[in-house]
Amino acid sequence: MVEQPLPYSTKLPVALPSRTVRIWRERIIASILFLAAISSVVTTLVIIYILFAETVIFFEKVMEMHQESLFEALVEFFTGTDWSPLIEPVGIGILPLLSGTFTTCFVACCVAIPLGTIAAVYLSEFAPAKVRELLKPILEILAGIPTVVYGYFALLVVTPFLQKIILGVQQFFNPGKEPWEYYELPGFNMLGAGIVVGLMVLPYITSLTEDALQAVPLQLREGSYAMGATRLQTAIRVLMPAAASGIVAAYILGLARAIGETMIVAVAAGLQPKFTFNPLEGASTTTAFIVSVSLGDLPHGSLEYQSIFAAGIMLFFATLILNVAGYFFSRRYREVY
């Protein structure tokens, strides 16, 4: 039995802290926090401003140099296959950088998407809880390795390994020739770099895909199991369609990472801008071009200085589109549940 409630002996001070003080304090704090939040928008604006400002100068110089109109310069920029802003006569066709970027990303996606999806489905639906708890941090570790270490790995481990394999395959199917008569994989090539980029984005794709699968409500899973489905059937027929937008978001964000990856390709893919889609060749990606040009300290105001901004603007907008697309896809799957 509860005893009779105790009466109040101390009268609580009714003199509450001043409302004006409180309201003003709240307002000031809110404004400071607002400024902090806006800083990200400012960052983006500054990025865009810098990229545009320098790119405009780039085009002005090119127009002067080539005696052409802005339209012609833009056409040359987007359709030309000769990117050599540093060497006379200057070529400003961006396609070689784009083809290099595309090819390495394609190789990377070929590695990361199937492996990442399978690994995610396995981790999410099949792996015992212990295994999952153990493997997820390991994948995070993989994602946390500095990319320059990956670049080193691509150059000194993966490429020699690929060279041996390619030589071995040729010798197996077509034995008896002198070693140099066989095709040799160049020391800098997009295949090795792309594979390593793929390994680097693998953890992202795995973890984002796994998140998307985990976000599918338990009721759907149980609904499927209750119909007598196996785990695999549940995963493929119910969970993957249900998580489709999340999985697409994972792919897109992985792709954006691959496009933006710099050090691996700068170390291992070669630095020559070359219009080719053959992963066995070496070529320069957009990012690798920027790094290789800025390796020597860049003289401010020179054409090469501006050329990296012109290349950068392409990169920025490519990843911008992907990131925004990824954002909306992932928001969609979050909204559904």
Partner: protein, 305 residues
Amino acid sequence: QGTPTIRIDGSSTVFPITEAVAEQFQKAQGGKIRVTVGVSGTGGGFKKFCRGETDISNASRPILAKEIADCKAAGINFIELPVAYDALTVVVNPQNTWARSLTVAELKNIWGPDSKINNWSQVRQGFPNIPLKLFGPGADSGTFDYFTEAINGKAKVSRKDFTASEDDNVLVQGVSRDRGALGYFGFAYYMENRNRLKAVAIDNGKGPVQPSEQNVLNGTYQPLSRPIFIYVNAKSAQRPEVRQFVTYYLNNAPAMVKKVKYVPLPASAYRTILANFNRNRVGTVFGGKEAIGLTINQLLKMQPQ
């Protein structure tokens, strides 16, 4: 007041010498003076130098007329100091058993602005059918300027589909990893990496000549022998730490240059150069032009114009 700092930038060819000197110098000074050495290529280095961002610029070619004008515009006077001789070296992969020597004409065929050669079999009758991969210094590079002038006849005019880098290490990496590769850069980089590169003898009409200290000294390695320089900002030269550093540089040059595998000038020459420096002799002896095929003796006789 902070520790006095000397800022150096420029040629990758000269870099090994300056790097070695800087290292020794800072050790000798017990860290009281700081030296930073960047690698931007000769052209990149001059761009900074002529805006007063650096105290000393490494250069693998003489300063050009346009750069002189830039410096003048910014009110910068410079002291030109040759520090060594280089044999600009054409290299191939060690697995390359066929191209022991190349003529200047063949090099021009390969590197000319309209060249479409992309296979060794197109270089010379009898060379094997192996894809040709080219590596060369970038456009800010003095080596590039010198090589294009010497081989193609006009500075900066070259085919463009090759892997270009201001950092000669990248070129060494490239050539050493590709059987069909051909590249060019300073002698020191070849010597440092002799086990992964092979030098090509150059035939300038008088038979193939290997790049070597001896062939540079006797003037037969032509047209790819060349002097290399440091340029000192005349105002910086008034600062004690810069004076100290340049003096140390020239005094130790013979040993240092040899150590990093370039060809030192005669010992007496360094004394003259140091004297020029101490006399604050500003300006260039080349008048803003590329000097091709200059022997050491010719160089030492040149007077400011």
